[in-house]
């Protein structure tokens, strides 16, 4: 009996024995919470178990020397038993990442537990379970756990709750859930970019396999062709020039053959080199383009949460600059590197076949250079990553100020913005200086090495010639090869910095590509079809960072009903709307549309049924017609005009120089706030959504325009489930029901009259605005229109 009931609620392994030994045989465990903080908010371990008869709390003795990371065997947790007869309720609070459960009776606080929010879900479950069983005890309709059936009945809600959680987990894929959680916690991967990261580009190179192979073969061939001329200097020297010096005639026939060979090799190298560069550049450009598109595609699919935490400038550099850098790396530097590498290997082989001893001496500096590269590489890499970040910082300043230029100018902060830019630029300079010191030292050192190498070859070569071990021709050929060889080595060493830059870029691109949306698509989506438009929020809670923005909210909106959301700013109205649009996912609870959890719909599919009118309407660069048909690009001109008419936008559009073909800028320059708003209303009307959300749609315009917009909105609202947020209560006169929110909680709901009669939160808000109106503030008009509308 005990075992079966316990098994429904998961008890941590190491507590299991302890819990079992303390429970009586007929007791049912309702909920378990691992408490990880003590009263002074130091990390510790403890357990709180709610059964139907009592609360059992195990806690570690609060001593400074107790190491909380040690396991349970070392210490004996203290057990405190709080029977249900105390008639105490559990309250749940949380603030700044710390949750609190307190047990309070009518006079005082009896006990208190603190924990981090990782355990919050369980804490709430425990609180609910305990308070429910307390209710039951008080009413004594069922004697606590006196019979088996009673025990089962009590277990049911908890059981159901856990099953529901499992279902959600299944829905989203537990891995996704885990990942999205870690993403939400901002666990960024801060490991330095590894050169191996470049291998991940293979995913994008794969479609161009054949062309890459052809390019590689061409590289081999063209490199081989460039190696022919130095080889020909050998017979030219030994068979032509030296015999001539010794008094023999020059055989023109021979010379002609050699010279012809030189010419052919040069022409071959030229044409092959051209072809290879062209093919590989073509491929790398395509790889770069694919990379850009997929990064952007992916970015578009990420949730608003991602954009909230990122800065425009940073993302712009990543997608624009980094991909370009990777592309240049692939088409130029990597190609050069490959050519150089092939060249070095081939040269080495040729040198060894001509004369192994001389070849060995020639290759002597190679290990030193390799070592040098290795040492410098790590430092350079870190430096380049830093440069990237600084660069983003610079673009961020630009991306911040340019859209906000009106604010900057209005507050006369040009100087300050300049200073900010200068500061970022100075930072950029400092970081670059540090890298350049290292870099500037590196390059001449490699050159020095090559010079020294050349010296050694000369010395050893002359000695060998003197000993008649090698001919003058061989030495000349060697020197000719070495000239190429070392310059190659020098340019090859440069690849280090380019590789590091590209690796850093790749890392930053893949950071976007690897980011999993915190609003994941379901594995097995439900098709949205013929929706009624009933929205139901149950036990909805939402946490932004460690702030609880929405607290356990329950709300059902009937199809076609218009709800007005009222409350002070910061009361969670906009968040609620964002949750309904699924810009964010709830921390706890669920949102349902026609009884289906919205997390089971495909995002795009779901959102086509939502029309959104925002306070600051955003117009894209394009014509007015394009902007109206943004949500439905196939719309006919007739439909566009009909939507504009309904939005009371038709006439002002006709007055523009090019009517519907007029171009509007990024932020809709040239149009007033009210005009832009009506265009955005037309946009929402055109997609004919079942659900309509208006977030302060009229608060940025004057009263006269508001009336015009109000008319437009009245057209829009008809027959749709509507949620309207408004600071001005007058805007909500058409609402069927008003919901008043305060600090993330729904405090009142009902019609205007009912709420006024109640003299509660709504009444206070209303009085405040009426008072403002009496003072002759701009709200005067609306108040009267409001009164006409409602009373």
């Amino acid at each position: 009996m005990v075992l079966t009931s316990v098994s429904h609620v998961e008890i941590p392994q190491d507590w299991l024995a302890l819990v079992h030994s303390s429970l009586s045989s007929h007791e049912n465990v309702l909920a378990v919470l691992e408490v990880d903080l003590d009263r002074r908010l130091c990390f510790t371990r403890g357990l709180l178990v709610a059964t139907d008869e009592r609360l059992l709390s195990w806690s570690m003795p609060e001593a400074v020397d107790v190491d909380p990371s040690r396991d349970l065997q070392g210490k004996s947790p203290r057990l405190e038993i709080l029977p249900i007869e105390l008639l105490a309720r559990l309250n749940h609070l949380d603030f700044a990442g710390v949750g609190t459960l307190e047990l309070v009776d009518s006079q005082k606080q009896i006990a208190k537990w603190r924990f981090t929010l990782a355990n919050n879900v369980k804490a709430v479950a425990l609180q609910t379970a305990w308070n429910r069983s307390l209710e039951r005890y008080l009413h004594a309709s069922i004697p606590p756990a006196s019979s088996t059936s009673g025990a089962l009945a009590q277990l049911a809600p908890i059981h159901a709750g856990s099953v529901q959680d499992e279902k959600v987990g299944e829905l989203l894929g537990s891995q996704d859930l885990e990942r999205s959680r870690s993403v939400a916690l901002g666990e960024a991967d801060e490991a330095p970019a590894s050169t191996w990261g470049l291998l991940r580009l293979w995913r994008f190179a794969k479609p161009y396999k054949t062309r890459l192979l052809v390019g590689f073969l061409l590289t081999l061939a063209s490199t081989a062709a460039t190696l022919v001329p130095p080889y020909l200097t050998m017979p030219l020297m030994d068979n032509v020039l030296i015999p001539f010096q010794n008094g023999k005639d020059i055989e023109l026939e021979h010379v002609a053959i050699y010279l012809l060979g030189l010419l052919t090799a040069a022409l071959l190298a030229w044409s092959l080199g051209w072809l290879k560069t062209y093919i590989l550049a073509l491929v790398s450009e395509r790889i770069g383009a694919d990379l850009r598109t997929s990064a952007y595609d992916h970015l578009m699919k990420l949730s608003l949460e991602y954009f909230g935490g990122r800065r425009t400038g940073d993302l712009m550099t990543r997608i624009g600059g980094e991909t370009d850098r990777i592309c240049v790396f692939l088409s130029l530097h990597l190609l050069d590197f490959a050519t150089d590498f092939v060249m070095i290997v081939m040269t080495a082989i040729i040198l060894f076949t001509i004369d192994p001893y001389l070849a060995m001496v020639t290759l002597l500096p190679l290990p030193f250079i390799y070592w040098l590269i290795h040492v410098v590489r790590d430092r350079l890499r870190l430096g380049f990553e830093k440069i990237d970040r600084v660069w983003s910082e610079l673009t961020n300043v630009l991306a911040d100020t340019i859209p906000g230029i009106r604010v900057v100018k209005a507050f006369a902060q040009e100087g300050r913005e300049s200073a900010r830019f200068k500061e970022a630029n100075k930072h950029n300079l400092a970081v670059n200086d540090r890298i350049n010191f290292l870099w500037s030292l590196f390059s001449p050192t490699v050159t020095l090495m090559t010079e020294v190498g050349l010296l050694i070859v000369w010395a050893f070569g002359i000695w060998q010639v003197a000993k008649h071990q090698v001919t003058v021709g061989v030495l000349t050929a060697f020197l000719a090869y070495i000239g190429r060889f070392y310059t190659r080595l020098d340019s090859m060493s440069r690849i280090v910095s380019h590789t590091q830059k590209a690796a850093a870029g790749t890392k930053r691109i893949f950071e976007i590509l690897d980011h999993v949306s915190s609003v994941p698509e379901p594995n097995d989506p439900v098709k949205v079809s013929n929706i009624e438009g009933e929205i139901k929020l149950s036990h909805a809670s939402f946490r932004y960072g460690n702030r609880l923005v929405i607290k356990d909210l329950n709300l059902t909106i009937k199809p076609g009903e218009m709800i007005g959301l009222v409350g002070q700013s910061g009361s969670g109205k906009s968040t609620l709307v964002n949750l309904i649009c699924r810009f964010y996912d709830l921390s706890e609870g669920k949102v349902e549309l026609d009884g289906v959890d919205i997390r089971r719909f495909m995002l795009a599919d779901y959102r086509t049924h939502i029309g959104l009118v925002l306070q600051e309407p955003f117009l894209f660069f394009g014509t007015i017609a394009d902007n109206i048909s943004y949500g439905r690009s196939g719309a006919s001109r007739k439909e566009i005009i009909a939507a504009a008419r309904a939005a009371h936008a038709h006439e002002f559009i006709l007055r523009l120089p090019q009517a519907y073909d007029s171009l509007v800028g990024e932020r809709g320059q040239g149009l007033s706030g009210g005009e832009r708003q009506r265009i955005s209303i037309a946009r929402a009307l055109l997609i004919n959504p079942k659900i309509l959300i208006m977030d302060e749609a009229t608060s940025s315009v004057d009263t006269e325009t508001e009336q015009e917009i109000q008319k437009a909105l009245d057209n829009l609202v008809k027959g749709r489930t509507t949620i309207a947020i408004a600071h001005r209560l007058s805007t909500l006169k058409r609402a069927d029901r008003l919901v008043v929110m305060e600090q993330g909680e729904m405090v009142e709901e009902g019609s205007h009259d009912a709420l006024m009669a109640k003299q509660g939160a709504y009444w206070r808000l209303y009085q405040a605005q009426a008072h403002q109106a009496e003072l002759g503030l701009p709200l005067a008009n609306e108040k009267s229109s409001y009164d006409q509308g409602l009373i």
């Binding site: 014509t623 017609a625 001109r637 007739k638 005009i641 038709h650 006439e651 002002f652 559009i653 006709l654 007055r655 120089p657 090019q658 009517a659 519907y660 073909d661 171009l663």
Partner: protein
């Protein structure tokens, strides 16, 4: 335009079936709709660039829509002619057919152009004044706010395209 044009009309979406549009001796356009009569009316196209033959609206001086014509081709040719006249009154968007010369490839640049409304010169202040309406349609705003249209980029001659290319 002192003579009076009387029109009868079929497909009007809002407004009465019959309307009269005429201009008086002062060149002022009048519209009478049933019993109402309006002075100083103007005619505008809803899509002057993308669909000039679709959707023409006649507005009052205050900018209120008086009459909406779904398609210009639906009205009798005489009425059509009249509306065209009224439209011309206000419409000015020369279409560039040829670029003869530009004095500099750096802005500000003075262009000599042939347009549907004759040869002219325009001063381009900056490259951002050339706006792309669609892939092949451009609007060039000159320093004085005149908007020139380039309807179909590929249909221009080679020389013109070469000039334009330097600014795009």
């Amino acid at each position: 335009m002192s003579d009076t044009h009387v029109l009868t009309h079929h497909s009007v979406e809002n407004g009465p079936q019959d309307f009269k549009l005429w201009s008086d001796a002062f060149g002022i356009w009048h519209l009478s709709l049933g019993d109402e009569s309006h002075e100083h009316v103007i005619a505008v196209r809803a899509f002057p660039i993308s669909a000039p033959k679709d959707g023409v609206s006649i507005l009052s001086r205050e900018g209120k829509e008086l009459l909406w014509l779904e398609r210009l081709t639906d009205v009798p040719s005489e009425a059509q002619h009249n509306i065209e006249l009224c439209l011309q009154n206000r419409e000015f968007m020369p279409e560039i057919t040829k670029l003869d010369a530009v004095n500099s490839f750096v802005t500000p640049s003075r262009w000599s152009v042939q347009t549907t409304r004759g040869a002219t010169e325009l001063l381009l202040k900056g490259e951002e004044d050339i706006k792309r309406l669609s892939a092949n349609t451009l609007i060039v705003s000159d320093a004085y706010g005149v908007q020139f249209l380039i309807k179909d980029l590929p249909s221009l001659d080679r020389q013109s395209r070469k000039f334009l290319d330097r600014f795009l």
